[in-house]
């Protein structure tokens, strides 16, 4: 390793990046825009579900019951109707996602002390949304049932309705949400986005940087020079790691300051872990660039190799424990999962290196393996 030669490559690469103004500014704009866009727009809250209420009974009790849905912030009335005509088309066109159908004799059954049947239709295309909607319907129906039974018991046993209602709920259930007391989705989303964006953008930059030279042919200057492959790779990758590190800091500022996610851990430790992670993901780009001979291939490969695993198998959407067995193995194979632990640990939980040391060690190991592979596979004597 000759420092002069490394710095020569480094300066050449930096100039090349900085002089391509559009590319240089996009390298910073893209991560920021992604963070702002997803931070504001991505929400898994299921609210304002458009629904149709079919009230075939049209009685005082059925209207009372319908208002439990109409007044709920989880549901938004699309149409109030007395018949089921047109329901199917509306469901298929995605104009509504649920329908509540109150049959005739609803009031008569309840007043006679019999259970009343209500039909719920739910669009199951998006299973997560359907499950959450079912949860809301269950909760609303349980509350309604509780009141009806309380009235019934108070009439039967001659106690007041309030007492009857109280006796039906002997257990007071207190739920405390740890690490994110008010369940603000942005608090968990913003740190996760930081992980996600740093998984996508560094490999892109590095893969393109190396393959560009191959495709344009300027790599022959390197092949015929005294620069060794190690020096070339170090000098070549450092500017991209540097850009990604700066991006990491920008993203951290956006997450912690702009979106206000609490940062409870040590900033020094976090920056150290982030550097490791950025080196890891840049290493993925390096390995891709060894195989790809055209930039378009490198682009496609990095997109597919990084985006899907980082979204699905990093523990962001689904906790690792809830994945299937194959999914869990895949999750342990990619660096995203380990950095997710670190990001959430530093941001929301406020735990330090002692709880996260295994994740750090794995990331370091990962970086070593990727760079060794990149070093061994890169050759100054191309076969073709």
């Amino acid at each position: 390793m000759n420092l002069v030669r490394i710095s020569a490559i480094l300066i050449k690469e930096t100039r090349e990046i900085v002089r391509d103004r559009l590319f240089f500014s996009l390298a910073f704009i893209v991560p920021t825009v992604l963070m702002l866009l997803f931070g504001y727009g991505l929400s898994f809250d299921v609210e304002h579900i458009p629904f149709v209420l079919v009230d075939r009974d049209n009685s005082a009790l059925s209207r009372d019951y319908s208002h439990r849905f109409i007044d709920s912030r989880y549901f938004e009335l699309h149409r109030y109707s007395q018949t089921e005509d047109g329901l199917e088309t509306e469901l298929i066109r995605n104009e509504i996602r649920a329908a509540i159908i109150i049959p005739e004799h609803f009031e008569r059954d309840l007043l006679a002390g019999r259970p009343a049947h209500v039909q719920t239709l739910i669009d199951g295309t998006f299973p997560f949304r359907a499950r959450t909607t079912l949860g809301y319907v269950t909760a609303i129906n349980a509350a309604a049932t509780m009141e009806v039974i309380a009235t019934y018991i108070s009439e039967q046993q001659g106690i007041s309705r309030a007492d009857a209602a109280k006796s039906l709920q002997p257990i007071q259930f207190n739920v405390r949400y740890l690490y994110n007391q008010s369940l603000k989705s942005i608090w968990s989303l913003a740190p996760n986005l930081l992980m996600l964006i740093l998984m996508i953008s560094p490999p892109f930059l590095t893969a393109l940087g190396v393959v560009r030279e191959v495709e344009r042919g300027s790599i022959y200057n390197i092949y015929s020079s005294t620069v060794t492959r190690g020096e070339f790779l170090v000098g070549k990758l450092l500017p991209y790691v540097g850009i990604s590190f700066l991006n990491g800091i920008i993203l951290w500022l956006l997450a912690a300051r702009w979106f206000g996610a609490p940062f409870k851990g040590s900033i020094v430790f976090f920056l150290f872990a982030m550097t490791l992670y950025v080196i890891c993901t840049a290493g993925i780009g390096l390995v891709v660039s060894v195989f790809a001979h055209t930039q378009i291939a490198a682009m496609t490969a990095t997109t597919i190799l990084t985006v899907v695993p980082a979204v699905l198998y990093s523990g962001v959407l689904i906790p690792i424990a809830s994945l299937t067995h194959g999914g869990q193995i895949l999750a342990h194979l990619i660096p995203a999962m380990y950095f997710t632990d670190i990001v959430l640990g530093c941001f929301l939980k406020g735990v330090g290196i002692s709880a996260l040391r295994i994740d750090v060690i794995v990331l370091a190991g990962y970086a070593t393996v990727l760079f060794t592979a990149g070093y061994l596979l890169f050759t100054k004597r191309p076969s073709s």
Binding site: L121, Y177, E215, I318
Partner: protein, 398 residues
């Protein structure tokens, strides 16, 4: 009749047809050139095939956005029949009991380390208070670093505890819990349409396919165009007797063909055999919609290609374009919870219509009579976007 006259007539006809034949030939030659170029880039070809098969498979299998085996640790200070009955309510598939801990500190530690998602604390004299009857308090701590699952876990837990409490109190009031069916109350007859068991793999695999189509439909034509600029082969094309349109159309046609073929492979080799998705609607209509959509997206790709000088720039611009498109598709965030200005953006996002159409055709079995509005919207958007792409392309390539 004079034979020379007939000759002249045929010559006139062929003379009239000749430019057309020439055009068709050049179109054919250019399409073949594009396809050859794609098929000889083995790494690219590998990843295109990978995207339509393995990637969709990985997205569809192993991922479920439901509460699945949430790790539950318990600190039971009562150790009575009642407390055990309550704990028995928490069982798979939603919850997984990972055992009891000696004191509160151990429970907090499990939560900190991420080994437990929920920590359940039953107070001493729980059974006595129930029998008294006196209101008693039960505590649960939920790891809310994932706010969605935290909320889901607490919803399910509340249901379990409330129904346990209701049963207990009914028994105490002399009503057997089995009789709850005959008590006045709301009986919920629920039906989930289009995906009765809420199988995640149906949704995940189809939307992943639609994502792949979107990414490739923008990326491939843009890259094919910029590559010629970067390598300098565009100079050869410019001096050839081809108009800018004749250079560009074959690229779009070739890439659209590749994408539609990939979609077919994905549907028949992955989505149907492996995930057993019932295709309820007309597949012909779906392929037709996919073709229109690919053309629309190619228009975006052309726009990117015309303003970038090299592939590095193009790839950054593609990501910048893709992010809002994927995000405004309505897949993850439904329109109703977006702020009004973003909802407006959704109505001009072609992918939003494509998603509605594809899920409508594949899962809901809709035909063109139900979907014609969306098809018209997608087509007119396609015409506008493609025309804009074409305009900026011509301006930059002449």
């Amino acid at each position: 009749m004079n034979p020379t006259m007939i000759d002249r007539k045929t010559i006139d006809e062929t003379a009239m047809l000749r430019p057309l034949i020439l055009r068709c030939r050049s179109l054919q030659a250019m399409i073949v050139k594009e396809l050859l170029q794609l098929f000889r880039d083995y790494v690219l070809l590998f990843f295109v095939v990978y995207a339509f098969t393995a990637d969709v498979y990985w997205a569809g299998s192993g991922v479920t956005l439901s509460l699945n085996q949430a790790a539950l640790s318990i600190h039971d200070e009562d150790r009575s029949t009642a407390s055990r009955q309550l704990i028995d309510g928490f069982h798979p598939p939603y919850f997984k009991n990972i055992g009891e801990v000696g004191d509160l500190r151990d429970g907090t530690q499990l939560l900190d380390a991420g080994q437990a998602t929920l920590f359940f604390n039953i107070p001493p004299e729980f059974q006595k208070s129930l029998a008294a009857p006196r209101q008693t308090e039960v505590q649960m701590q939920v790891d809310a670093t994932n706010s969605v699952l935290g909320l889901l876990a607490s919803t399910y837990a509340t249901q379990i505890v409330t129904s346990y409490g209701l049963n207990e109190s009914l028994t105490r009031n002399g009503i057997s819990p089995n009789r709850i069916q005959t008590l006045p109350g709301i009986v919920d007859d629920r039906r989930v349409w289009f995906n009765p068991n809420q199988t995640d793999s149906w949704f995940m695999s189809i939307t992943e396919l639609l994502n792949i189509v979107t990414v490739l439909a923008i990326l491939l034509p843009a890259a094919a165009m910029v590559r010629e600029k970067e390598k300098g082969t565009i100079e050869q094309l410019i001096v050839s007797p081809l108009s800018p349109l004749e250079i560009m159309f074959p690229k779009v046609i070739a890439m659209t063909a590749v994408i539609v073929a990939g979609t077919a492979v994905c549907l028949f080799a992955v989505i149907r055999p492996l995930f057993h998705v019932p295709f309820r609607g007309s597949l012909l209509l779906f392929f037709f919609v996919t073709t229109i959509y690919s053309w629309t997206s190619a228009g975006i790709g052309l726009f990117v290609a015309s303003i970038s000088r090299n592939l590095a720039q193009a790839s950054m611009l593609v990501i910048l374009m893709l992010a809002p498109i994927l995000f405004l598709s309505g897949v993850w965030t439904p329109p109703e919870i977006l702020p009004a200005w973003l909802r407006l953006g959704m109505y001009v996002s072609p992918m939003h219509y494509y998603i509605d159409l594809s899920l409508g055709i594949l899962l809901k079995g809709a035909d063109w009579q139900i979907l014609w509005k969306q098809i018209v919207a997608l087509s007119s958007l396609g015409i506008v976007v493609f025309a804009a792409g074409l305009w900026s392309f011509r301006r930059n390539f002449q």
